[in-house]
């Protein structure tokens, strides 16, 4: 009973923190990027004000849109929200843990992607359609690569449940193995694509012809745009949680004992910060690539993923 | 003087009368009446039976009845055919035509009932001559050419068959000695073990080529498609299938002699390979000849080649069940094919005239626009020919294929491929026939003849899937005896 209560509290804490922190993460990355580019950059809390402003603005409905126009942003946001709830952040053993199957997560990402694409096609505007088409193209390779990656982790942890993987990796101190290196590289590639960051997409770019995610949101305004932006923030957080849980599982708290929570929380914040920094460093050091280079980029990730699982086999054979 | 003689003699008498008197209409009606009588007689034969030269067995009676039935329906449709076509020929030739009709029927009955191989040969010869005259009846250049082909090839076949017959007689000498007994199927079958096997094999070869010509097995088929396409349809298409039956049964019986001799340790070779070769050749040639046919009668001529090839194949596979399948297939096909041709004649009449040259598929496109019943009936007949369920042929083909698998697995490869190609080629014709847009024309009555076709179709279905146990027993015993 106590265990359940604790788990319940931990879960609520996790959910609350994630939802609260997500815009801050965006703000942080923007700030960091600005600094790295030698500018002052926007205030950290700007995303919150932005969301609040959008909520207060009145929402316009394009005359060529159908009744489902308002549905897509909500769908995208909900899908991302659920996946954020599922992916463990600072602690393992949450109530949502059992449902946090990696494949379910992939499915939820796909759901969010589908909703965004449909939103882009909604008004029948050229840019939205182009963005949706490109998103579809990226998604094809990203999903393939992601599944192959999961195979590597599943083989190591003998489960496909993220929570289980986290537990397993935290317990068994896996050294730096070749396969995990491959897996990490591939994972990062997929994450960058899915989260719509450079080099595949430019979150702060506003050249319509080059946009992917932005293009699909062109016709949205007011609270609907707020939903979309928030979904974007959640997406970034979800990916960071995912990478953190799998590759940096050390120090994660256990829902069972309260004493491990503080450390878990601190470490979680640190991990997020580190990942944000790394992300910004990468982004400022790279240029956005042409749309049709992206499949090659992701194809390479897919092969890396396969190599990872193959190397796992070799490692298991040679007992390394 | 046994009852069988009456059954056989009746059509010839009728031919005499029809040949000497009566105009087209009277002749047609008289012809129908005569056919009805011989159908009744062929049924009665089950009760009485024959002896001596015409000691018939159950199989012969069965197919005799089929011949009677086909003759009857053909003669009924023939009435309207003659009505529509009377002006094309002088009265004399209509008399000849009806006489030929009866002669062909009589010849096929004689060939079926004959227990004597010499008599069988004579029947085949008579049939050949009658058919030749029938094919050339319209005196058109194509008709004469077809008749000429028929005659040359048929004549050669008859000659070879006679040679084979004499060889059989000679082969029987050690067992039966000189005299009539050495020419009686019953006696031969009884003594097959003691016959000169090597000579018997040679004899079978000539028999196969002789009667194989009549059964239109490739490469002996040269006469058939043209002959089918010329001459008055009721005679040269609907009725001519009967002679094919006679030929196939003859081949079956001679095959049995050889088989029995080989089985009893005689020096005869196994008849299988010869039959299988011709059967497969027929299947494939037919399959590839279908696709460019324009004339429906020629098209279905090739399908007859395919079917007799299939039956020969079944006989070649051997074994009681395969023979059962072959016989069943013969039975069903000899009911289905005339029905199809009757439907075809009716369709051609609905589209204008039923004389040769009016049977191009292009004439028949979109037939349901003229008459739904007739159109779908024809389509059903063609469909049934392809051997997909619910067509009756499916049952027999299923048996044949399954037996092939169990007895001679590798032969099932060419068999399956050939049947596949043939079926597809046949099915191809249905689409345009049913669904092609037709020139707007007045809706015309199907006429009572259409019901005859329906009757044929129903019979094919019923005999295949609701087979009366008596028939199963009959065919089973025949197959067992002739295995």
């Amino acid at each position: 009973m106590l265990g359940f209560t604790l788990a319940f509290i931990a879960t609520c804490l996790h959910v609350a923190l994630c939802f609260a922190v997500a815009p801050l993460l965006i703000g942080t990355t923007n700030k960091l990027r600005a600094w790295l580019l030698g500018r002052r950059g926007p205030p950290l809390l700007l995303p919150y004000w932005h969301l609040a402003k959008l909520l207060r603005k009145s929402t316009v409905l394009p005359d060529t849109a159908t009744d489902l126009f308002t549905f897509w942003p909500l769908g995208a946001m909900l899908a991302m929200a659920v996946s954020v709830m599922l992916i463990p952040g600072y602690s393992t053993g949450l109530l949502t843990g059992p449902a946090a199957d990696a494949i379910t997560i992939v499915g939820l990402f796909a759901l969010a992607r589908a909703a965004t694409m449909l939103g882009g096609l909604e008004t029948g505007a050229g840019f939205g359609g182009a963005g949706a088409a490109r998103e579809a193209l990226f998604g094809i390779f990203a999903e393939g690569a992601l599944l192959v990656l999961l195979l590597a982790f599943a083989l190591l942890a003998r489960t496909t449940n993220i929570d289980g993987i986290a537990n397993d990796f935290r317990a068994a101190h896996l050294g730096i193995s070749v396969s995990l290196g491959f897996a990490l590289a591939a994972m990062l590639a997929v994450a960058l694509t899915e989260a719509g960051r450079i080099p595949t997409d430019n979150p702060s770019g506003h050249l319509e012809l080059a946009m992917v995610h932005e293009a699909m949101a062109l016709d949205y305004s007011g609270r609907l745009l707020a939903l979309l932006d928030y979904a974007g923030a959640l997406r970034l957080l979800a990916w960071m949680n995912l990478i953190g849980t799998i590759f940096l599982p050390f120090g994660m708290a256990r829902a069972g004992d309260v004493l491990s929570w503080p450390l878990g929380l601190v470490l979680w914040a640190l991990k997020l910060a580190v990942m944000a920094v790394a992300l910004c460093l990468f982004e400022v050091s790279r240029a956005k690539m042409r749309v049709f280079r992206v499949p090659e980029f992701l194809g390479a990730a897919l092969l890396l993923g396969m190599l990872a699982s193959v190397f796992l086999f070799v490692a298991a054979r040679i007992g390394a | 003087m046994s009852f069988a003689w009456i059954v056989i003699a009746w059509p010839f008498l009728a031919a005499l009368v029809l040949g000497l008197a009566g105009g087209p209409r009277a002749g047609a009606i008289g012809n129908a009446v005569a056919c009805a009588v011989s159908f009744a007689l062929s049924l009665a034969l089950f009760a009485y039976g024959g002896d001596g030269l015409v000691a018939t067995d159950a199989l012969a009676r069965l197919f005799g009845t089929v011949s009677g039935f086909v003759g009857l329906t053909a003669s009924l449709v023939n009435i309207s055919y003659v009505m529509g076509d009377a002006a094309r020929m002088p009265v004399r030739r209509w008399r000849l035509y009806h006489a030929l009709f009866q002669i062909v029927l009589g010849a096929s009955l004689l060939g079926l009932y004959a227990d004597n191989i010499g008599l069988l040969w004579a029947a085949m010869e008579g049939g050949t001559i009658a058919m030749t005259l029938g094919v050339s009846l319209y005196r058109s250049p194509t008709g004469l050419e077809a008749a000429w082909k028929y005659f040359i090839l048929g004549g050669v076949g008859i000659g070879l068959a006679l040679f084979g017959t004499m060889l059989v007689y000679l082969a029987a000498q050690p067992a039966l000695g000189p005299g009539l007994r050495a020419m009686s199927f019953a006696a031969l079958a009884g003594q097959a073990a003691h016959m000169d096997g090597a000579l018997l094999t040679l004899a079978f070869l000539f028999i196969l080529f002789g009667y194989g010509t009549k059964a239109a097995l490739v490469p002996l088929h040269g006469w058939l498609p043209d002959a089918y396409a010329e001459g008055p349809a009721p005679l040269t298409t609907a009725l001519s299938g009967l002679l094919i039956n006679v030929a196939l049964l003859a081949i079956l019986r001679f095959r049995h002699l050889m088989q029995a001799n080989a089985a009893a340790g005689g020096s005869a070779m196994h008849p299988g390979p010869f039959l299988l070769t011709l059967g497969v050749a027929s299947l494939f040639l037919a399959a590839f000849s279908f696709s460019r046919r324009r004339d429906a009668r020629r098209f279905f001529g090739f399908s007859s080649i395919e079917q007799s090839g299939l039956v020969a194949f079944a006989f070649g596979i051997g074994g009681p069940v395969a023979l059962f399948g072959g016989l069943l297939h013969m039975l069903l096909h000899s009911l289905l094919k005339p029905g199809l041709f009757l439907a075809l004649i009716r369709a051609a009449q609905l589209r204008g005239a039923a004389a040769p040259g009016f049977y191009a598929f292009s004439h028949l496109r979109g037939l349901p626009h003229v008459n739904k019943y007739a159109g779908w009936l024809l389509a059903l007949c063609i469909f049934a020919l392809a051997g997909l369920p619910p067509s009756g042929l499916f049952a027999s083909e299923f048996i044949i294929v399954s037996q092939t698998i169990q007895i001679n697995p590798w032969m099932s490869l060419p068999l399956g491929l050939g049947m596949l190609l043939c079926a597809v080629a046949i099915l191809r014709q249905i689409g345009p026939l049913l669904f092609a847009p037709a020139p707007r024309e007045t809706y015309r009555k199907a006429g009572w003849e259409a019901h005859l076709v329906t009757l044929h179709l129903l019979l094919v279905f019923a005999l295949a899937f609701l087979t009366p146990p008596a028939l199963v027993r009959l065919l089973g015993q025949a197959a067992g005896a002739l295995q």
């Binding site: 207060r56 316009v60 060529t64 909900l78 499915g107 096609l121 193209l137 599944l147 | 000849s289």
Partner: protein, 547 residues
Amino acid sequence: MFGLPGHGMQLHLDALSILFACILLPQTVAAALAGMRGSIAFWVFVLGMALTLAAGDGFTLIFGFELMSAASWLLVMQGDVKPATFYAGVAIFSGACLIPAIFLPASSLAFVLVALGAGAKAGLAPLHSWLPRAHPAPPAGVSALMSGGMVKIALYVLIRYGFVVLAPAQQPWWGTVLMVAGAASVLVGALRAVLEVDLKTALACSTVEHVGLIAVGLGVALRAKALGDATLTGLGLEAALLCAVAHGLFKPLLFIGAGEVKHATGTLSLNWLGGLMRGMPRLGALMLLGAAGMAALPLGPGFAPEFLLLHAVIQAAAGGGILARIGFSALLAVLGLGAALALAAAVRIIGIGFLGRPRSLHAAAAEDARRGPFIAMALLGALCVPVALLPGLLLGVMTPVIRLLAPDADTPPLTYAPLSLLLLALLAALAAGFIQTRFGVRGLREVPAWHGGFGRPPAWLPFGDPHTQPSGAGFAEPVARVLGRGLLGAQGQDPSEHFLLGPLLRGQRRAVRLAERVRRATIRERLAFVFAALVLFLLALGLGQGG
């Protein structure tokens, strides 16, 4: 009594046939409602499928199977004569493969024949090229039943023989064969589903993909069964059967919907549709549900099978040698690509066909689905809901079937809980709603859309210039550019047509020419044939007896 002369026909029902009968029933009702009630051929078609399921002996099985083929052939021909012949050829081919397989003793040859026969009828690569041609041809109800039902019947035969009848001779590589064929189908089917512009053809291609998924599941199970891996067998079978059930619901739904679109707009080309959600909202909603199933999205009917299938493959990759490892990770990649392609195809159908602006006046003037078809679709949609939300329950119901197919298979509990996901989503929605009501303003103001800077269209284009929004082909263009050229070649032709069908047709043409030469022979030449044959046989005889 009816049946093979002297034998009759035996009927026999067991869990497997009952399961497939259950798959068949709703779509039959739906198709009947969708306007096929009056057609005799349709009911013969259904009868054939039922007979195949109820068959207790080989004859009945083939009889029903071929009856089904024949009837569906007639129905296809009513729609379009051209693909009908090709279809008939494939149908008879599968019959010609199955009959021998039935009479052969349990052996690998028999299995190969079954795989060829049933696979050809199910549209399993590389024998699938007929399916995208034949399935769209007939009226919608028949297309629905062909895609949702007939294909399943073929798979039923495959399962029946692969798992039950031929079990004594089973080999691991049987499963591998199925997996390879399945993977190929998934890839080709899904890719073509994205590229095809015709709505029904795209749906048919997606059927090829789903058949591939089922085949992969069956292959995994078959291999595992032969290797004696109980869990994996159970997983694979669960995946395959659940996929069959789900596909049997949402695919007919989509096909009937496509039929209604055709009826309302007169076209099925995505390049001329668009904005249908406005004119036909009820239909659009149901199509959305079906598309969610087709794209295997979570909370949709199609996700649970995909989930199980991926789990099965991952688990299979854990065991076995290096080759198995590489093979299964490649399979996983293919499945991932396939899933994402299916998603793209579904998004394209909904987004291009039902959202956006109408691309033709017909599309603009479309009226909602007629009563019968709508009821049919509603029925199927309603049945989709339990499949989507209670897959665990369904699997529990299926256990007898799995027991029948693999007596020692154990079925692990499903770790995908749609209801809990739904609960979480509801919570999030509530939170969002609360925030919205607390801080936001409500209300929507309709304004002219911003067409990316295009000028206002002329008055005679009430919905704007169709060419300023992406077309069906345009949406698929990036995929075509990246994947299509690679997999389907420059002209986007299906490999099986290019490498399989083409050569066959050429050979047939050559043979026909030869046959014509024979037919054109003069009398003398025909005599020469006879004579040559006679001499040859005589020679054979002489040598046979002399030596």
